[in-house]
């Protein structure tokens, strides 16, 4: 985010507090994503409702993380969301089990990456001075 000048430290502090709150909730959000992915895998990505839950969680991450300074976390979530779109939109057929496996692997890789980097600079806020 842009530098807002020295006369708005109060504003910066409020934004930093929201960043901190977002980061504090990240482990819970990742846990929800992992649970949703596990449900999708149980049904081999054939249960529309389970896929929709996973898609919604990825979409939320894609839309929110960058606003709180975690741009890469959001960008990677967006990539997973787009990969999942191919299943939701029916672009993959039952025979495309390899493709479904690739999508699942994509999401799993993202979650492993996110878990490794929670607390790292990648997750750190750009509101910091």
């Amino acid at each position: 985010m842009d530098e807002a000048g020295s006369d708005d430290s109060g504003l910066r502090q409020r934004l930093q507090a929201l960043d901190a709150l977002f980061r504090a909730r990240l482990p819970m959000r990742l846990q929800e994503l992992e649970a949703a992915l596990a449900q999708c895998e149980l049904s081999a990505f054939r249960a529309g409702g389970e896929i929709a839950v996973l898609h919604d969680l990825l979409h939320r991450m894609a839309g929110t993380a960058g606003t709180f300074g975690c741009r890469e976390l959001g960008t990677r979530a967006k990539e997973c969301e787009c990969a999942l779109d191919t299943i939701m939109n029916g672009e993959l057929r039952d025979a495309d089990t390899d493709a479904v496996t690739r999508v699942a692997g994509h999401v799993r890789d993202y979650l492993q990456w996110a878990r490794r980097h929670v607390g790292d600079d990648i997750i750190a806020s750009t509101h910091s001075p």
């Binding site: 504003l11 929201l18 919604d56 979409h59 929110t64 960058g66 709180f68 967006k78």
Partner: protein, 130 residues
């Protein structure tokens, strides 16, 4: 459309995004914000007489999504001509074209920079008046 931009009706189900948007639009932008957590809340706010100059709507929300919320709002005389902007991470060309086809003035992409958000809203609102 009214002649000035002061009152913003805002619909977003994510509490974190609602909080940062409130700071952006009220503290940074100086607007009066009515923040709603659902489409139903937004319809009730307009029905109760909130004098919105513009409406900002999230697209993907549970129960009632942004486009459905806008369609309901448009049935209210007080919201019939109020410009609407969607805030969404779904900003592919075909998606933006769809939002415009259902009457949106424009789209603000998520993620967004809170410090720039007021300017983005003002710019879209001005374009709507051009």
């Amino acid at each position: 459309m009214s002649g000035s931009l002061q009152n913003i009706l805002y619909v977003e189900d994510d509490p974190d995004i609602r909080a940062v948007t409130r700071i952006a639009l009220e503290t940074v932008g100086g607007f009066t914000l009515r923040a709603c957590s659902s489409g139903k809340d937004a319809i009730e706010a307009m029905h109760a007489g909130f004098p919105a100059d513009i409406m900002l709507l999230d697209v993907m929300m549970p129960e009632m999504d942004g486009p459905t919320t806008l369609a309901h709002l448009r049935t209210l005389p007080q919201a019939e001509r109020v410009p609407a902007i969607f805030m969404t991470a779904k900003v592919q060309a075909k998606e933006v074209a769809y939002y415009q086809s259902i009457g949106a003035l424009g789209v603000i992409a998520k993620p967004f920079d809170p410090m720039q958000l007021p300017q983005q809203v003002r710019r879209l609102w001005s374009e709507g008046h051009g």
